[in-house]
Symmetry: D2
Subunit: 146 residues, 4 copies
């Protein structure tokens, strides 16, 4: 199991890594970790990501949930992770509000990590919950972040 110091260092590296992601710019997402190493993704209202009904598309909410889960699990592993399974339960529309997703580590097992996630509006209204399963790949995190 990684020490807090190693996890903290990987969090910093992962934030830098994500800053290069093209989708970060396309969606205009902000990414940080809180003190418990939970990944937080913020998405300010972005009309270019709307469905035809004029509100944030469910796939965009799924993207926040995927990110919040993967980046919450990733710093606990020496290997790079791949997403195995994502479950999203939609609770309320975003209603054009700014969104914030946060992950929670349920289990960092030897082969598999499990997280839960939630997406809220800035005002704290619950928009979606999710859960994810992630598996170790053969690539090392050091190599990917290097």
């Amino acid at each position: 199991m990684a020490t807090d110091s190693i996890i903290h260092q990987r969090c910093e590296q992962l934030v830098r890594f994500f800053s290069q992601a093209p989708i970060k710019k396309t969606f205009d997402m902000k990414f940080s970790y809180d003190a418990q190493a939970r990944a937080i993704f913020e998405l300010a209202r972005n009309p270019t990501l709307d469905h035809a009904g004029g509100d944030t598309h469910g796939g965009v909410i799924a993207t926040l949930i995927d990110n919040a889960g993967w980046f919450t699990a990733a710093p606990h592993y020496e290997h790079w992770l791949a997403t195995v399974d994502l479950n999203v339960k939609y609770i309320e529309p975003a209603h054009q509000e700014n969104l914030r997703a946060i992950g929670e580590l349920v289990r960092a097992g030897n082969r598999l990590a499990i997280t839960t996630m939630r997406v809220e509006t800035k005002s704290g209204r619950l928009v979606a919950i999710g859960s994810g399963t992630f598996t170790r790949t053969s690539r090392s995190i050091a190599e990917m972040l290097g």
Copy 2:
């Protein structure tokens, strides 16, 4: 239950409706129905939707799956649908290939619709499978598509 003729008409209207979706343009997705009224979404390789590792983001694949399910279920109802639940199983990375998602109607119940979906590359390699649950809202489809 809607007749084939009504379903066919709604499919045409839904394609036009989606053509106005901002996310259609942002992602550059193509949308059509096949002869069995299954929704097909095509996404040509789009590097602006990549994660930092340089391949199509899982949330983008979830978006295709969400769309394929929702639009496969929608023409069977007089009411507008809301996505309740989305499950995505990631099988292989897109490896920068063009993608194609298709939905399959499992059940169009009185209150709830269930679909399964798959995402393949243009060459037929399976990238992800999914399932979705959708519920009727109080708004009519005619009002939304009108």
Copy 3:
């Protein structure tokens, strides 16, 4: 929305209702609510529910999770609920320990309820987590609980 007093009354009725369930006897489950109206199901080690490897079958764990979710959601509705969707993530084998499942209400919406659930051993070891979606049926809870 139901008042606390009505919820409390329904909890008592639901405990009595479940006491008549044949599966309660077959599995030998105990059912109660905690002070926050969360359903708790206890299953003492029962070798008749083992898979061929000699430990509690995953379907039995799914049964606890289904029960914990449904009975946590049910007292919040005037109508009887039907389970729409169940997701179970298996974390560790039961290792022949006594199990305890508990539900958490995430959302009691007009049409749909969402819960999360967890199964632990008596010693607090996490065995599985789950989530569920439940929909109102046309039958009233009063009629079902007689």
Copy 4:
């Protein structure tokens, strides 16, 4: 990848293995493989597995789905599998009918297997669909079945 001959042999061994499972007897399930090595579980109407409303419990249906998935995936691996994730969508009540679950192999990857499953009544009415993810453990299938 296992040859057809090895898969066929493992299917026979797995049927024998399951015949020793206590839950097989408690539920009174029948297990076989079809010519495509898809696992089939049959459950004749068994009132001891009813919920208090007098019909087959959802956890019993989840058990059939778990079995159909696991046993469809298992013969493709040299290692024993563990269930990672189970998703069940309930479509209609069993209405006291005999049930039949069947699995379909979607993917037998190096680390993870994915299956879909369906539960029907003997008359072909669809009761539930599911999907499952399974991971290799460190134990060999030969050791477990030996």
